[in-house]
């Protein structure tokens, strides 16, 4: 009786598809940027938009979520940045170029690309939080004329912890764009600002009305930065944070990222501050 | 698909559950509502008891060490070799150069075989097990006071108590389903008094919380007795009719006023008086204790002092009273009961008693050794001295459980031959010459005895992964040494019952439904929930005066902290099983040291900072947890992490009577890194 049922052949969402590591860059002392290229037919990974993430799968170590850290190149490559914090990322760091990893995705919601057209945009990033924002930044610079003034604030613990150093310099060359960097622990070579990202907020020359803000970084940074941004007059609905949560499935089933009815993996990871308030969270 | 009802392999409460077996894989655990101990409740370890059983790390083949490295060999090769070496050492050095460490994790039947193997086959009384490291003090202490060294009452009386004095025990974390009954008692209005250097969970709902220094319990209890006598709160009728030695006790406690005890214990005199008053004037009151009382150089005396307190107030020898020694392991009560001890056969019958020996010699068909054997503690010392040549260890990880790890390693390395039965490759197994892969609780038939003296069935859910159970292995080695033993667990139980008067009514058939609490002196006896009813096993309860003696190592200028060790809810002893369960490991993945905020500030450390804990035995780098749960000048560490072994720090000082180590107090210092 049971076998007579026409079971729809559903794609097994939990089955990873393979990708090859094309290049590995040592970004900072504890972080690497991996360039990946999907090799399995039927992989939907490249359909991703800025803001989304995927699950990386390593047999023997399980899976972990990583946001796409770049726009996809024309020949089907993209980057993720990985900070070594636990057993999974340790194993990922031990891989070499030409090694294979499993991928599932893309998952999550995208940044509101159409809403930000012709608007001024402020990006605030802390540490490796620059990685999820990078595809959006790249998208905005790729379509420079369609957006207003761009200000980027990026803070790290020390100069050696700054990601994408060369690319950041190139961002400065864009018209009507300012890039501000700050560190907590300067070294001898550093002659820039010191302190948390909020110390740079007074420096921005951006009109808050109708402008958009995108934040990503440690929870405490998001919490405090949003408080300061609100004081400057940015609208709650225009402030977006890319949130981090422990995830195991990425598709809204395992429950780890659930917050008051919303799943950070399917309803997020990007939430406006008004949505965050409804969820009762500040980071 | 089948559901197999069995007893939990972790702590001494003795919960039951069904193992859910589908296609030869154990996929989950179903609580057993019909079981009188657990009644459908389980703790987090029990809910995951299926996970370590079929873990990929399980040892599947015997390992023989060649040139310092292990080689997988066949069962025959391994067993032939073990038998040959054992015989060789016995012939060359005599039977007392061999020793057996039985297993408080294995079944009663297997422990019976282990002690029979030591005595009848190897010819020595050198058999002991890890009760030595935990409740040997209970056995030696209560034996003197009452004539029987086990729990006096049953779990189901706890919810109806008016007062529960919890001292040196953390039921919520170490015995969760007894902790449930304590919670129910509180919900029913019971007054709980918690005495612990750490502010454990029950203290949050307690009527009174006393935070004494580790190792000052006799002073505390003597002060309570002193106050009770002064206020005339003692049970004169009970003392008159059912005890002896009261005058000596009265004399001995006269020096211990609450005010004088306050200095020693660090507890306000008013608190001591309040505790005494509540306990003495409650109608139904009991004392629950565990390793906080036994793991001291004065462990035996600690227990005796509690027995004194119970007798002085008449809170023993009747329903809704008594002492609850919370036994640590699933079958440590059973291993003691089965005589896996150097001085007794099964049923606590002395090996030095000629009549008893004759009975066993006749049943076993062989001459038996006459002198009591070595305790586990002294086996280690004798190994270092070179007097002990061979150690046969079953299911025990001494290198991680015994105090002063470096000394234990030296002891085991001095042996000529070391055999270890294990299910995972532990640190002790790594030192062995031969490792024999044993079976977990889910792979054997037998019985466990829990802390309320209840025999319960253990049932096989899957076939032994290595092909043999620990009982099978002993029998095969014994066979090769020329001695045949009964292999069927129910028949072993029958043999044991026929030779041990206090269990003579125990059989698989009789315990099938709900187990049986010993003493079960006859085939139709229903078991004994409350012992010492009417009269103590020794007749009259004996008051034995005891005096405070500080721990063997007290803090000084160089080592200003008292280091105490203990357990977490999520892990079990050396973590061999629980660190292989994802949910359990995730809660507490690493070792840590709890330190009082004032002390932390003085050193200049914050939570999660790495610190070095140093004692005269060794040092260990762990992360600090700053919490006001611990008293000032006291630090506390769990010992569940094999790669961060706490016992490198603990002191190899032992109670002179029961030879239990002082895990709960030694001197330490903390260095900032």
């Amino acid at each position: 009786m049971g076998s007579k049922m026409t079971a729809k052949k559903t794609m097994d969402e939990y089955l990873p598809k393979n990708a090859v590591i094309e290049e590995i860059l040592q970004e900072t002392a504890d972080s690497k940027t991996l360039t990946l290229r999907p090799i399995d037919k039927g992989s939907t990974i490249l359909k991703y938009r800025p803001g989304q993430f995927m699950m990386v799968s390593l047999p023997g170590y399980g899976e972990a979520p990583f946001t796409f850290a770049s726009l996809a190149s024309r020949d089907g490559r993209f980057q993720i940045s990985v900070r070594k914090v636990g057993s999974f990322t340790n194993a990922l760091h031990a891989l070499k170029e030409r090694d294979i990893v499993g991928l599932r995705g893309p998952y999550g919601n995208t940044f509101p690309l159409s809403k930000i057209e012709n608007k001024n945009i402020l990006f605030i990033a802390g540490g490796c939080g620059i990685a999820p924002l990078r595809p959006l930044i790249q998208h905005v610079f790729k379509n420079r004329k369609e957006h207003g003034r761009i200000e980027i604030i990026y803070g790290c613990r020390a100069p050696r912890d700054i990601f994408y150093k060369n690319e950041i310099e190139s961002w400065r060359n864009n018209p009507d764009t300012a890039v501000h960097l700050t560190v907590d622990e300067p070294d001898q070579s550093w002659d820039g600002t010191c302190g948390v990202v909020c110390v740079l907020l007074p420096k921005i020359k951006l009109v808050p009305k109708n402008a958009f803000v995108f934040l990503c970084g440690p929870g405490i940074m998001i919490k405090l930065a949003i408080q300061d941004i609100l004081k400057l007059g940015f609208k709650e609905g225009n402030i977006y944070a890319s949130l981090e949560r422990h995830m195991k499935c990425g598709v809204g089933k395992c429950g780890h990222c659930y917050v008051k009815g919303k799943y950070v993996c399917t309803d997020g990871p990007n939430f406006s501050y008004s949505e965050m308030k409804k969820m009762g969270i500040d980071s | 698909m089948k559901k197999v009802l069995t007893t939990c392999p972790y702590c001494g409460v003795g919960c039951n559950f069904y193992l859910d077996v589908r296609d030869e894989r154990i996929v989950g655990v179903i609580p057993a509502k019909s079981n009188p101990v657990s009644k459908g409740y389980l703790c987090v370890k029990g809910w995951h008891a299926h996970e370590p059983v079929q873990h990929p790390d399980r040892l599947k083949k015997p390992l023989l060490k060649e040139n310092g490295r292990f080689k997988e060999v066949s069962w025959d090769t391994a067993l032939d070799y073990v038998a040959k070496r054992l015989k060789g050492i016995k012939d060359k050095y005599g039977p007392d150069s061999l020793a057996v460490c039985a297993s408080a994790r294995c079944t009663n039947e297997e422990n019976y075989l282990m002690m029979k193997f030591a005595r009848a086959v190897l010819g020595t009384n050198n058999v002991d097990h890890c009760a030595r490291t935990c409740h040997a003090a209970t056995v030696s202490g209560l034996n003197q006071s009452f004539g029987s060294g086990a729990s006096t009452n049953s779990y189901d009386e706890l919810p109806y108590m008016d007062c529960i004095l919890i001292i040196g025990s953390n039921p919520t974390e170490a015995h969760p389903i007894v902790g449930w009954r304590v919670r129910t008692a509180i919900d029913n209005g019971a007054k709980v008094i918690v005495c612990d250097p750490r502010r454990i969970l029950p203290a949050e709902s307690a009527e009174l919380y006393i935070q004494q220094y580790p190792g000052t319990d006799i002073a505390l209890i003597n002060a309570m007795i002193n106050f009770i006598l002064k206020e005339n709160l003692h049970d004169k009728e009970f003392i008159e009719k059912r005890t002896e030695g009261f005058d000596e006790l009265r004399q001995a406690v006269s020096d211990y006023t609450p005010e004088s005890a306050a200095e020693i214990t660090g507890v306000e005199p008013e608190a001591i008086k309040k505790a005494a008053r509540i306990y003495a004037s409650s109608k139904k009151a009991c004392i629950m204790y565990s390793l906080g009382m036994t793991e001291h150089t004065v462990g035996t005396n600690n227990i005796i002092s509690m027995a004194n307190l119970a007798m002085v107030t008449g809170h023993v020898g009747k329903e809704f009273s008594g002492l609850y020694p919370m036994r640590g392991q699933n079958n440590v009560q059973g291993a003691c009961d089965m005589g896996a001890l150097p001085n007794v056969f099964s049923g606590y019958q002395s090996v030095t008693d000629g009549e008893v020996r004759k009975k066993f010699e006749s049943a076993w068909g062989v001459k038996l050794p006459e002198a009591a054997g070595l305790t586990l503690t002294d086996m280690m010392f004798k190994a270092i001295e070179g007097k002990l040549k061979c150690f046969y260890i079953i299911g025990e990880d001494q290198v991680r459980t015994d105090p002063d790890t470096h000394m234990i390693e030296r002891a085991l390395k001095s042996l000529e031959f070391l055999v270890v039965h294990e299910i995972f490759l532990t640190e002790t197994a790594k030192l062995a010459d031969v490792v024999l892969p044993g079976a977990s609780y889910a792979e054997k038939e037998g019985t466990f005895t829990c802390a309320e003296r209840r025999f319960q069935r253990v049932r096989r859910a899957i076939e032994p992964i290595s092909g043999k159970t620990d009982g099978d292995i002993i029998i095969e080695v014994s066979k090769r040494l020329g001695y045949e033993m009964e292999s069927e667990p129910s028949k072993i139980c029958d043999e044991m019952a026929s030779l041990s008067p206090i269990y003579s009514g125990v059989s698989f058939e009789r315990i099938e439904e709900s187990g049986l609490q010993w003493p079960v002196p006859a085939k139709d006896h229903p078991g004994t929930p409350v012992v010492h009813l009417g009269q103590f096993r020794r007749g009259l309860g004996k008051f034995i005066p005891v005096t405070h003696k500080p721990p063997a190592e007290v803090p000084d200028r160089e080592y200003p902290f008292i280091l105490s060790t203990g357990r977490l809810l999520f892990h079990y002893n050396t973590g061999t099983m629980t660190t292989r369960v994802s949910n359990l490991l995730r809660e507490f993945p690493r070792n840590f040291v709890e330190i009082n905020p004032d002390d932390a500030k003085a050193i200049g450390i914050r939570s999660n900072a790495k610190v070095k804990v140093v004692t005269r035995r060794g040092e260990l780098v762990v992360s600090a947890q700053v919490t006001d749960k611990v008293k000032r000048r006291v630090i506390w560490m769990p010992f569940h992490y094999s790669n961060e072994p706490t016992n490198v720090l603990t002191n190899s000082a032992f109670d002179p009577v029961c030879r239990t180590g002082e895990y709960k107090a030694c001197a330490a210092k903390i260095e900032k890194i």
Binding site: G60, K253 | D20, L42, C43, R183, E587
Partner: protein, 345 residues
Amino acid sequence: MNKLFITHEDLKTFVEALKKTCDEFIGPSRQHLNDIAFGDVKNDGEILLNYDGNTILSPRTFLLPQTETLFEIKGSIGGKVSSIEDKKSRIFYGVRPCDTLALSLMRRFFLEGIVDRPYQDKMENATFITLACAKPCSERSFCREIGSGPVAKKGFDIQLVAINRGYLVESGSKKGGAILRKYKKLFIVSTPSDIKESKRILKDFAKEAKPINYKRLAGIMRDDLVKESVWDDIGLRCVICSGCITVCPTCSCFSVTDRMNGTSGVRVRYCDGCPYAGFTRMAGGAMPKPDHKDHIRRFFEHKLNVDVERYGVPSCVGCGRCIETCPGNISIRKFIDDAMASVKK
């Protein structure tokens, strides 16, 4: 609606016939003493056609087992990962109305949005025969009050209501209707007195039950009006045994891990959930809500607040299993009363 009827004898025949049509026939079977648990009774001669009380665990234990292998892994880096499929056809007999409601909610949860393939495989090949309750299964259950029993309104393929001379039978789905048509020789039309009898039994059952206004409860929780002392007490009692999340018919959280034996192994999913601190702890140690009472609070919010919004009904079906397994004596029933009573000023 014309309800059908089947005698006790014919029900035996029906069950025997059904057993031949499936891989596993999951029915209530007596374990030790009074314990009843679901098991494969396909090859059992006598099975429990009617029983008092409820099974220790709900059918969740077959649709979302405590541990379940999802994939086979061969090789480490670049290794091959292949799905392990469980497409066994199962007929579940004797499912109680509370568990039946739970199944319909879980079906929606796992199959809406991105489909959970392992759950779908099992669900598609499962048939549910519900057995309504003639009397309360235990003191702790409250299906009448929360509206999930004693008769199921949906989620079943076939429902049986026991009366004296047999059972009333109704179909709840196309699949159920097809089965009843296939074996129509065993069923007759019920009489008006049959219907009267069943109505009386159910009325007796629900006699003293005061319905819980769960929409009001959800509103109270949504507006965070429950007194903090209620949450503090629950946080103190909860010892993270994980019993509630393992026995609850509507708990669905899990975690995934790889179990390797050398270079081959399996990817396993296993029961996980709110009470654990590690459930939301991120690599690096950060935890969104570090207090333990907020972890166990999530269980209550999910069942009684958020799911009312999502499904229209709470996902607590009043089976009482969590109450009967909590060593901290936490009762979700008592919580509901406390929450409704103690509204913050």
